[in-house]
Symmetry: D3
Subunit: 312 residues, 6 copies
């Protein structure tokens, strides 16, 4: 019986064996496709019920993972809207929507690279923070088009993912400079464009991303340097449409120092911060380039979230 | 012969055995006092010449150390202005000015603590960066006065001097929190006042201080959080009166990462950055509290720098 | 004959016996439902004509009441779009749309309270102006959820509706402070969020509300305090889509002082002012939370206003 | 055979005998209408193919003229979407869409005048730049409504099209003042509203218009003077949805000075500049008034550009 | 014995029978003049001691009245600096300095009116807040010079001193309009200049004045309307040079409402607020016009406050 | 008799045969030196009277020329302060002060070039407006020091003095680009520093200079480009200390167009505009570099203008 397969997918998301917004979303789409292919439902109503049950199961594994609810909605919504159609039609719709989600998602980074690269000019000095596939795709695509670029990368304490970006860019042959997070403002006037990724994007265009992003955005804004966010469209957060706040995770203090060496000292280690839309010039998605003020529209048209509607 | 003593003082400054703005300034004052006490000059003219010679010797040891030129000027200026007075008068003036510089300098941190503490209110949340004696004096003085305080300290990469501040404040019994430099904007809305030190202060009130200071100031400014600089008055930079730029030192890249692990990657490690006066609410000196726009006046009245006059 | 009932409804709106955006809108919906239930029309065309006649009658009673035109449009648009359908279908559609408008409108304040309360955190200091059902619903809902809150209320001269809010909040058990309108900036740094209502909302997200609102918004903006508007979606003003300005009513000068005591002095008493969208963080409606930049979209999707279309 | 007519239309666009956004768009619509009327296609598929061929031919004449691609899309999209319908239906659709485009376009300036005039108040001091039909229509319509106006016009170097505007307004009986481009900030505090036209409008609401527009917008913004853009909706640039940059043409240096008199001096003569949406209060189109943040929506709903879709 | 006279002067200040910055300062000068005229001191040392004793007595009556310490310092400083001069010389100096203070102070309002009126142009719309002699002097002097003016006056809750200003201006024949405090932003775009008084002025140019002033300044700043402060130079606060904060008095809640009618409601009634120097264009004193950034210089040169020096 | 010489000097200033701030000031100094050398006065009192008479004569020739009153004051003030000294001493003082003024003034442009060049870095892109000796001196001095520079020059309508600058810089071998005034914002992001001259400088640091300067400063400020003013210290305007406004001259309309070709059109042609100090980073004088906030101090210490003192 296929239930085992679906359970395994859910389990892998829960235990974070499957991680990363894209992988989680595609896994959920795959699970729902399995439901459609293998369902024992005798009619449309039973099938819709089964879909709902599996959707809930999947959502429960990582309730705050925004790509999870977006993927489930994308795959199941059409079938639910015409739920009186015959069973085979509904199954086909779910399978084809699942395929579409997986395909678009798989190509998203590449497509973002292509679209974003249009905004990179020959000779640009670029700054990036942390380690984002989408942001690096934009830079590397522009570089492959023959544009001369230099890239400043911030260390990105505490986990120093900037070192991964530095190595990746440098190996691609791009002239790369490493600086500490504190040195952003010292160098910002030499920079033409900042490009970062996103963990999720709220309905008002605010971007939740690696701690330090909002400081970088503010500094770029002060110096009138363009600030781009590169992110797949399933990172737009539907819950924010009805007022939900995006929770900011805090991670163990030992990532910063050994707390035993500093008895009595509190150590705060938030993973993300929130960049207000006023400091963002463009959001580059696989579906095109939008100003942050259009995030609300994207949520409605991409995932057909209805006004007032809660998450599943 | 006393020349040996003076040479030793100069040597200690050059080799950085004597370091820190205050210590350097006081060492120079001491050297000049020795000249006045032990001079073999037979008349005023010879004495002034000897002063000039020793001044040049001292200045040459660390030509960009702003406290050095300020101290020398403070000690010698009066004698030079009345250079036709008799030898003994001039010697007395130099000795008494040297004593005054040393005394004021020695008490400066304490006095800054007292003056600055008046601007700290009971219940304040304070943020500081790096490790500044003057900034910590303000905080600790306010705390000793019975005010309840909480202090956020940034790590201050690459040398992490924030850890020294954290330990110092924590041992003083003050509730202290450590964060990475990137997390400033995430927490800034909880903060009432930011207090930092200064390496030097330009004629237009711009503050040169540890890398990251200007980003912190910008972030405080955005959130309408008060931003205070605590610094001795001999840190005001006279050269900026005639257009000299304050040079920003860069230190070895290995302070950030092992460069061998990142072949082909450039690593930039500036030690200081420049905070524009627009982001500074007050400068706390041992002579009182000034707005940054008064830096020009302080330079003129404290060290009697004349318009258009070059450094020694 | 039912005409009497409809005339009464219209009369009550005209004489302001029926007042308040919600009550006016629901009264209009009721009137149109009566038309649908009791019409003597023999075919769809006659029915549509009758709807148009009554719509005009209602609109004429308070031509600038934005909830009036929104309600009429909501109730009649669908029937008009399929005006070739049979009479009974059209009557049913109008009755069901009228019911929907009335139901949604009746629940709107409660729903706004629930959605808005998600943006209130435990320990928040809140400021409000004048006396808005929607704004108070947000505060009281959050309080009932067990969040600790303190609320500052401005007096709201000249009519001092702030006193009503103060009493309402205080009776609900919420810690409440009264201040004069001039004291907003003195206290704003202690405030976490400002919440006000709206009289109407323009297509560009500008909010028309009680005089003093825009000053409060500006002051909150300067201090980087969040500024929320809570308003039912039928307060969005369709006329602004085609350039109509929202007129600002002026009321009698005697509300401010006895004009006889100040002969020769002009007294100006505007009731509302306009808060620009730049100073508004969120608009909380019963359909969800939107950034002000989405007002244009709400008008189009909620009431299906077509580009370029004039009011009825 | 009609091909000759279509070739002539294309040729006239290419050689700029047909110029101006409106005329180009209408010419393209006319050409496509001729195709629909005179086609020899035997079935729908052949007709669609012919439409595509002619579309490409037209687009090739001025690949960067934004009204050209908008017109072609507007005329052909519906037919393509139902391409399986019978030939006659498709031909009718194309002809009627072409007529609609031509009619709306012809009336657009007049309609913009009417809508925009609502935002002009009696007694307004207005400033305009260069020579825009739409901007002047707004001013002249308001003046014909009996509003008292004064208009400041900038010279608009290098081509001094401001002189054309000055003459046009002055002949219409409007009190008109001419100033050099440099004098804008000196007079801006006397101005109530600035109105300019647009060459094209990007998806984020940025406006590309005659060089100097962005400086004027910045100056108006600094002085809190309202800044309106008046432009037909076919000037919204779909390519910007997928990241294309609007290229800024540079014209011959001799428009500025005789380059032979200044050997060795470079002379730069860009025709347009980009005004960021932050400095624009309203965009007045023939379909209504929008905030710049709604440009993205207009592009999608007016021309049904799909996310991610490239230009034809 | 004259001690009785001095005691009476001190008593009148303490009981606020003598009130207002100017009157308090002049009373103190008068008291010190009496000392000089009637002293029984047998030598200079005794006289200086007596001066110190009386100074302390006077200062103790209203320790936070800034004009009191400024007056005492102005009258006594010169004598103290040359304290070794003969008794008669010292007595003469004190008497003449007392006379000078009284004369300058008495003429200050008139002189401020003359200097300030130069910055008022024919046709200006002016706004003022509360009831300041200096601000009204500027307006009335300009009006007497034949300039056409209109003045908007805010009510100034809770004590409504705006009504006094309205009456004063109106009786002087000036076209005057009364508005509530909340209506400032609604009218500000019609205003050319705002003029207010000051309670005291800090070393950084911040102005402490009637509650609501800072909101008005912010609103003027947003609209780019000039904001002038008119104040006698003895209102500059020397204590702020060494970090003292200006305390903001709170007055009884019953000035706002009858607290018994609002049981459980807190009522806050601060009298003053602080306007930051960034929102002030000019400070008009009887000694000339200064930018707020020169407050530091005025304090030093007018009252010869030395850096670091505490209040008496 | 020498009176003839002095009358000629005065006449030359009046008829503008002697023009330019420096030349006017030096001519006045020369005239006063002639008085001192050739006076027939029999005692100091008569001499002072004669100085006053000639001062008035000179001042009357161009009452608004700020360098005139500054020069006269500089030359005569010391003599007036010690007016009881013997005649010869006073004559010597006047002669030596006149020599000093002439010498400093003659060297000022060169010295400004040297001081300002310190703020120019190798590789800088510089923009300048109109044709200022001081601004060009800074650029050319830096270029002679071997720094690589590129300079953008604005045309500066209506008189196009930018063409003079273009030629001057280009002949000096500096890479120069000419643009129209409207194109500033299009190119500003490529610029590192803007340098302009000044006609006069107000006590609050505002700079009066060629029309268009304030727009350029605003545009530089928006783009965070440094904005420098280069001007001799005798251009600081003492009248602004007591509230006098700097009048902005308007020149004939024919400089813009032939007014006969535009009957009924008003043409406004102001020569200068006012740049607020907020947009100025540094003022470069021959006495050093000051922030605009120090203009007040310069006026006081350079020309010893006393607070409240009127122009001569």
């Amino acid at each position: 019986m296929t239930n085992a397969q679906i359970k395994q997918i859910a389990e892998d998301i829960r235990t974070m064996r499957t991680r990363g917004a894209g992988k989680i979303g595609r896994a959920a789409a795959r699970a729902l496709k399995i439901v459609a292919r293998t369902t024992k439902a005798r009619n449309s109503a039973e099938f819709i019920k089964e879909l709902d049950r599996v959707s809930k199961l999947l959502l429960g594994t990582r309730p705050t993972a925004v790509s999870l609810s977006n993927a489930i909605r994308f795959v199941t919504l059409k079938a639910k809207l015409i739920k009186d159609a015959d069973l085979q039609t509904l199954r086909n719709i779910v399978m084809s929507r699942a395929d579409e989600f997986i395909r678009v998602s798989n190509e998203a980074v590449k497509r973002i690279g292509e679209i974003g690269a249009r905004r990179i000019s020959d000779g640009d000095m670029i700054m990036t923070h942390c380690n984002s596939d989408c942001a690096l795709a934009v830079i590397k695509t522009a570089f492959k088009q023959g544009k001369h670029l230099e890239v400043f990368v911030t260390e990105s304490r505490p986990m120093k993912q900037g070192l991964i970006s530095v190595r990746d860019l440098s190996r691609a042959g791009i002239s790369t400079t490493l600086i500490v997070d504190s040195a952003v403002r010292h160098f910002i006037r030499d920079i033409d464009k900042v490009i970062v990724g996103a963990d999720s994007i709220a309905a008002n265009g605010a971007v939740i991303n690696k701690i330090g992003t909002s400081q970088l955005a503010l500094t770029a804004h002060e110096a009138r340097v363009l600030f781009f966010v590169a992110a797949e469209s399933y990172k737009f957060h539907p819950g924010t449409l009805v007022g939900r706040l995006v929770e900011i995770e805090e991670r163990p203090s030992k990532e910063i120092v050994n707390p035993k060496r500093f008895p009595g000292v509190r150590i705060r280690n938030p993973v993300f911060d929130v960049t207000p839309p006023d400091y963002i010039d463009l959001i580059i998605t696989e579906r095109g380039i939008i100003p942050p003020s259009a995030a609300y529209v994207v949520l409605q048209e991409q995932f057909e979230w209805k006004p007032g509607e809660e998450l599943i």
